[in-house]
């Protein structure tokens, strides 16, 4: 089963719970098999199956809870992004280990966590992410930018409390 490990990993990241992740992957495969006729050969299979997984998650109890907690500013794409002012001293993540980043990722709101994982870990193109999350390309870019900043802040905060 290609993608099985990755789908499970992504499901666990979304649900943060082994049992829920298993239920989510199982339901995703069941839906994918049932709806296979809706998949058009030549279109993106990976985006299609991740979209099923994500939509299934969003209708689950944990998914509903996670999306109602998303701050409204997440979706306002018109808001201009403040310029990043970094000094070499503030270059972070150099010392941060894997666990720290994992902890920080786990703290992020689901929309940030999922867009980061799809881009960095799944190495999806903006177009694939746009198809998977059913959001316009512009939103993919602005959400990614915010997610990256939120992750940096979360890592910094965790480093500070160490």
């Amino acid at each position: 089963m290609p993608l099985f490990e990755r789908l499970y990993n992504f499901a666990h990241w979304l649900t943060q719970d082994r049992q829920e992740a298993e239920d989510l992957v199982q339901e995703t495969y069941a839906k994918a098999l049932k709806g296979f006729r809706s998949f058009r050969p030549g279109t993106n299979f990976r985006a299609w199956i991740y979209q099923i997984l994500r939509n299934t998650f969003l209708t689950s109890r944990t998914g509903l809870k996670s999306t109602t907690m998303v701050p409204l500013e997440l979706e306002s794409d018109q808001e201009s992004l403040p310029a990043v002012k970094e000094t070499p001293e503030s270059i972070l993540l150099q010392r941060s280990d894997r666990q720290l980043v994992q902890e920080a990722l786990g703290q992020l709101p689901v929309p940030y966590r999922e867009v980061l994982l799809l881009c960095e870990f799944e190495e999806m193109s903006y177009q694939e992410i746009s198809a998977t999350l059913a959001i316009p390309m512009g939103t993919v870019m602005s959400r990614l930018s915010r997610a990256r900043r939120a992750l940096r802040d979360a890592v910094q905060q965790l480093q500070g409390t160490e």
Binding site: P2, E5, Y8, R18, L33, V84, I91, R98, F121
Partner: protein, 246 residues
């Protein structure tokens, strides 16, 4: 400020999403601007950190087995019977029953794996690693990549076109996946060394999950699987051509 214009585009640049013309100009700017280069480096480090942190959860082997079983248990007949008249359903269930009697569980699993691989090939933007319609190019490409050799059929005068091939794996053993096209349909032909028990070596024409046609046979120590959504007749014809070449 000139730098702001560039820092806005750094993310897209590092994600490989900036058009080539802009990417060139940004790379040029990074070479001459220490602040932007430092920011770029920080972003690359963060990207790598998330990439490394992303792999965190592994599925339980028992869960994997459960999913595999549930997929193997779903035949296309079971899904589609809701849409078929009752009479057709009865006939189909009889056929499914007959198939279950002749098809061992492990072979079903093997075919399920290969159907998955075929679907992944259909969905891939780069379905083949060696692109050629010439069998004299495709066959030598596999030399040194798989532990056996095979013959490819002469397709002239047939409706089939060789698209190319790639290395595939089944049960940790490398084999060949060849892609053929007939009209708008793609057909995968998998060839592996035959290591299955004797009862699985019989020649079988089976129809399997997701409505794909499957043909499989054993010849000269190799196991062949032909999988596609083309007609049964097409799969039979291609199988005959391959058998004749082998």
């Amino acid at each position: 400020m000139a730098c702001e214009r560039w820092t806005e585009k750094l993310d897209a640049y590092l994600d490989g999403e900036l058009p080539a013309s802009e990417a060139g100009a940004l790379a040029e700017h990074l070479r001459g601007c220490a602040a932007c280069a430092a920011e770029g480096l920080r972003k690359v480090q963060q990207k790598r950190a998330v990439q490394a942190a992303g792999q965190r959860f592994m599925p339980d082997p028992a869960f994997r087995a459960r999913i595999q079983d549930s997929i193997a248990a779903r035949s296309p007949f079971v899904w589609s019977r809701r849409w078929l008249p009752i009479l057709a359903t009865a006939a189909v269930m009889l056929l499914a029953g007959a198939l279950l009697l002749t098809l061992s569980g492990s072979q079903q699993q093997v075919i399920g794996e290969l159907v998955d691989q075929h679907v992944a090939t259909l969905a891939s933007l780069n379905p083949v690693d060696v692109i050629s319609t010439d069998r004299h190019t495709v066959k030598p490409w596999f030399a040194g990549k798989i532990p056996f050799t095979f013959n490819l059929p002469e397709l002239q005068g047939s409706p089939f076109i060789l698209v190319g091939g790639k290395v595939s794996y089944l049960g940790q053993s490398p084999g060949a996946e060849l892609i053929f096209r007939v009209r708008q349909h793609q057909i995968s032909v998998f060839i592996f060394q035959d290591r299955g028990p004797r009862e699985e070596r019989e020649n079988k024409a089976v129809r399997t999950a997701l409505s794909f046609e499957v043909r499989t046979w054993h010849h000269n120590g190799l196991r062949y699987f032909v999988i596609g959504d083309a007609s049964a007749q097409d799969l039979d014809n291609l199988s005959e051509l391959i058998k004749a070449a082998g």
